[in-house]
C-alpha cells in the first residue's frame, strides 16, 4: 500500500449504474459476515474490489480507510468512501445501504430476541466463543493495512509505535492521526 492518494479524475456526480449495482452486490453479500465490524472484512473487500473487479485502485482503497480513520464517526463510513471513489455520490449512498440494510435488520431482530434470553447457555457460548475469532480477524485487518517493510520501513515503524501507544496509553487518537499527517506531509514516513 505504498501510494495513498485520492484519484485525480473523478466527478462526485458521475452516473454509473453498473458500478453502483456491482458495489451494492458486494456490500450486501458482505454485510451479514461483518461480525466485529465492517473493518474485519477489509482483506476480503480488497480481494473483491481491487484484485478481482478493479473498481478501485490500491491507492484509493488505502486512502479511503485512512480518511475514514481520520474523520469522526463510525468506522463503517469507509465503505461509503469506497463507493465514493468508485462511483461518486451515488456509489457512496448505495454502498452504505448495501452494507447496512442486512446487518441492521438482523441486529434489530436478534437484539429483541436475545434481550429476553440473555441467560441462556447457548447465547453465552456464542458470545464467548466468537471472541477469539474476532480478535484474530481484526489482527488480519491490521496486517493487511500495515505499510510494507521492504519499501516503507519508517512508515511501518510509525505503525508499530502507534499500536503500542493505543494499547498502553490513553492518548487521544486524533493526536496520533495529526502526527501521522504531519510526518507524512513532511516526507518523513
Amino acid at each position: 500500500m505504498s501510494q495513498a492518494a485520492p484519484p485525480l479524475l473523478m466527478s462526485p456526480f458521475m452516473w454509473a449504474p453498473e458500478v453502483w449495482w456491482s458495489l451494492f452486490g458486494h456490500f450486501i453479500a458482505l454485510s451479514l459476515m461483518s461480525i466485529g465490524g465492517a473493518i474485519t472484512l477489509v482483506s476480503d473487500m480488497h480481494r473483491r474490489l481491487v484484485v478481482n473487479d478493479h473498481l478501485l485502485s490500491n491507492g484509493d482503497f488505502t486512502a479511503a480507510i485512512a480518511l475514514a480513520q481520520a474523520a469522526p464517526g463510525p468506522n463503517v463510513l469507509f465503505v461509503g468512501l469506497f463507493g465514493w471513489y468508485a462511483g461518486g455520490l451515488g456509489g457512496a449512498l448505495i454502498s452504505m445501504l448495501g452494507i447496512m440494510i442486512p446487518s441492521t435488520t438482523l441486529a434489530l431482530a436478534v437484539a429483541r430476541w436475545v434481550s429476553t434470553r440473555r441467560h441462556w447457555l447457548s447465547v453465552q457460548a456464542f458470545q464467548a466463543g466468537m471472541m477469539p475469532v474476532t480478535v484474530g480477524l481484526l489482527l488480519a485487518t491490521g496486517w493487511v493495512l500495515a505499510p510494507p517493510l521492504a519499501t516503507q520501513p519508517r512508515a511501518l515503524l510509525l505503525s508499530v509505535v502507534v499500536a503500542v501507544l493505543v494499547w498502553r496509553t490513553k492518548i487521544r487518537l486524533i493526536w496520533l492521526i495529526a502526527a501521522g499527517a504531519l510526518l507524512g506531509a513532511l516526507g518523513l514516513v
Partner: protein, 211 residues
Amino acid sequence: MPELESAAPLDTAAARPASLTELFTAFSLLALQGFGGVLAVAQRELCDRHQWLTPREFVELLSTAQVLPGPNVCNLSLMIGDRFFGWRGALVALAGMITAPLILMLGLAWLLGEASQVQQLQGLIRGALSGIAAVAAGQIVGTVLKLSAPMRQHELGWPTALSLSALALVMMIWLRWPLVWVLLGLGGATCVFTYTVLRRRRQVASAKETS
C-alpha cells in the same frame, strides 16, 4: 435439552430521551466527536451526561452488539433507539450516528480530490495520507491488543483463546481463506466447543449444589 436460566436484578437508568429529535441530536453529536472510534465517546455521553443507560446496561447491550454482524456502535445505537421508541427510535438513532459524519467525510474527500488537481498540494496530501494510513494500521492493531485483554478471563482459558486468534490470523493471511470459511468453520467449531465446556461446568456446579 432444557436451557439453564438464572434471574438477574434489573437496574434502570435515571433518564430517557424526551423525543425522537433529542435522540437524533444526541447520536449526531456523539458520532461527530468520535475521532478514531465512537465507542468511548458513546459510553461517556449516554451513561454519564444523558444518563439514558447505566454502565451495566451499556456493557450488556454492547456484548450483544459486538457478536452481531454490523458495526458495533451502529448496532448499539439501534438497540438503544429501539428500547426507548421501538423501531422508529432504532432507525432515528442509527441515522443520527451515520448522517452527519458521512456528509462531513464525503465533503472532505471531495475537497481532497479538488486539491489534488493542484500540483504543489498533491505531494503534500499524498504524503499526509500515507502517514495517516500508517497510523490507522497501528491504531487497529493497538485496539485489538486492548480488546484481547478480556481473553485472560476467557471460558476456554487464555492459551486456548489466544491460539484460536492466531489460527484465525493464519487462515486469513497465509492460507488466504475467504472470510466466511473462517467465520462459519472456526467460529462455529469454537462456539460448539465453548457450549460443551460451559454445560459441563454448569452440570458440575449443580451436582455440587444438590449433593
